[in-house]
Amino acid sequence: MMPDLTWLMTVIRLLIPAIIILAVAPVGMMYLTWLERKVIARIQGRVGPNRVGPYGLLQPLADGVKMLTKEDLIPRGADVLCHFLAPILIVVPALFLFTVLPIGPTLVAAPLTTGLLFFVAVGSVGTLAIFAAGWGSRNKFALLGATRSAAQLAAYEVPLVLSLAVIPLMTGSLNMTEIVQAQQAKWFVFTPWGLTGFILILITGLAEVNRTPFDLPEAESEIIGGFHTEYSGMKFALFYMAEFLGTLALGMLASVLFLGGWHGPFLPGPVWLLLKTFSIIFFAIWVRGTWPRFRVDHLMEFAWKVLLPLALSNLLGAAFCALKGGWIGNIVATALPISVFLLTTQLWLKPRPRPTTAWIETNSQSN
């Protein structure tokens, strides 16, 4: 009599998508570093890596080998467990993000009914890892980076979640596959609320994955390496890996939610999704090549004073649009976020009385 091996078959069947994700995502991330260096170089009029392999295509491998052969330093007085766990804790959730993102109508590793919530929940675990890294290093710069990071990620989490809320509002589902299917006729980015949501998710997403202009946690010109100051070798590489995996996941999420996922003429679905993802990643790199870093005070105020009211108004506008429909609904859904943006930026950036040189002169004269 044969032992019952169906459970083993099930495990193997479940392992296949897991292995595919775990094999493809790190390779994709490695070539993302190559793409980033090439695009930034072109923007700055350079050529970028071109020595290792044709067009420098083997550069990521060379970097990997270099990182592997670097000494792993642990500073004296560090919390060793915290220091060791942080890079693992940041990479694993970043990999989890890919399980709920559908590549094709049936090509999704975990078709959760709560896919969108799962994405947001898993995505915010990274904050914990960043804080563990900063705290565990027992370095003042690392801790400074970590506290900044916690404040920043908390601040941008709110508008991100609120801008995502328009999706279940319109589709009545949190399942990523159903969300893409709802965009069969019209991508959400071509609706007024969808466009605002798309812009919001780009801005807050850049902040969530700590990319320029929101890369304050690792602002190298102010606080050395930020939270990963005390990391070297492979552990440092893992932080980079998590950042690029996050960028990749953000690009995929934005294209799934707003750019119609796999929908598109002529080409097969996964190719379309990849094209859209890479356009968004290109945009992120382009932004990095253009804009300077936020100032820390502006960063927090931007999230709370501009993005939060904008996301809320977009949600309400979308709800109005869904109920009323027609041109009235569209106009309201367009005008509400725009007027809120204009109002909040005026209030936020209005010139405040500051001690100027004239002020100092008049005061010194009176003395």
């Binding site: 009029g45 350079r46 382009w286 932004v287 253009t290 950036l349």
Partner: protein, 216 residues
């Protein structure tokens, strides 16, 4: 009221323009004008400005100076006996050299009498500071500054002392590296020769006149 954020979009436009320009300009450089000269140095130039050094080289400016060389009249690759040396081993270069890196030994003929020719002429390239005084002071245009800057070496005690064989270069080579200075030198020599000829003719005419007029 001011609309915020528009300048950010303008910035994005500028960088995108730069990004695209690297491809359009690169295409032009590869297929339209295959000029690999010093065009990338100008301030208005767009596109990739990187010069990939070992494969691509910029022509150094003419006044660029690295290490003195000794000039002989002739072609490249002339043998030592064919070289018409300009150096007369007068020693002015060795005297003006601020770090004192030039050694000269004057040549002697069979009878032991000094002749205007250098038997040995060596420069310690580690000491030379490329000031160019030797070239400035040489009355015979025999010493000039070179352009060859790729001098790195695995050994420094023997190979960094350049002897006369290593220092000798032809006027042909010099005319290639320094076309402007070479043309000026030629013009100056020609003018000198003409002036001398005119002076000689005038002197001859004066002498003839003096001979014709009877003394009073």
């Amino acid at each position: 009221m001011k609309i915020y954020g528009l300048e950010l979009l303008r910035g994005l436009g500028i960088t995108m323009g730069r990004f695209i320009a690297t491809y359009t300009v690169g295409f032009k450089r590869t297929f339209v004008n295959r000029n690999r000269g010093s065009f990338r140095q100008s301030a208005s130039e767009k596109g990739v400005f990187t010069v990939q050094y070992p494969e691509e080289r910029l022509k150094p400016p003419e006044r660029f100076r690295v290490l003195p060389v000794l000039i002989y009249d002739g072609k490249k690759g002339d043998t030592r006996t064919q070289q018409a040396e300009r150096c007369t081993s007068c020693g002015i270069c060795a005297k003006v050299c601020p770090p004192q890196c030039i050694w000269i030994v004057q040549a002697k003929d069979a009878a032991g009498k000094a002749i205007p020719k250098a038997a040995e002429f060596s420069i310690d390239t580690d000491v030379c500071m490329n000031c160019g005084f030797c070239a400035e002071f040489c009355p015979f245009d025999a010493i000039k500054m070179d352009h060859d800057f790729e001098l790195s070496n695995g050994e420094r005690h023997q190979s960094h002392i350049f002897d006369i064989n290593k220092l000798h270069v032809s006027t042909e080579y010099y005319a290639e590296t320094h076309p402007i200075a070479w043309a000026e030198e030629q013009a100056r020599k020609k003018a000198d020769a003409e002036r001398k000829a005119a002076a000689a003719a005038a002197a001859a005419a004066a002498a003839k006149k003096a001979a014709e007029t009877p003394p009073q």
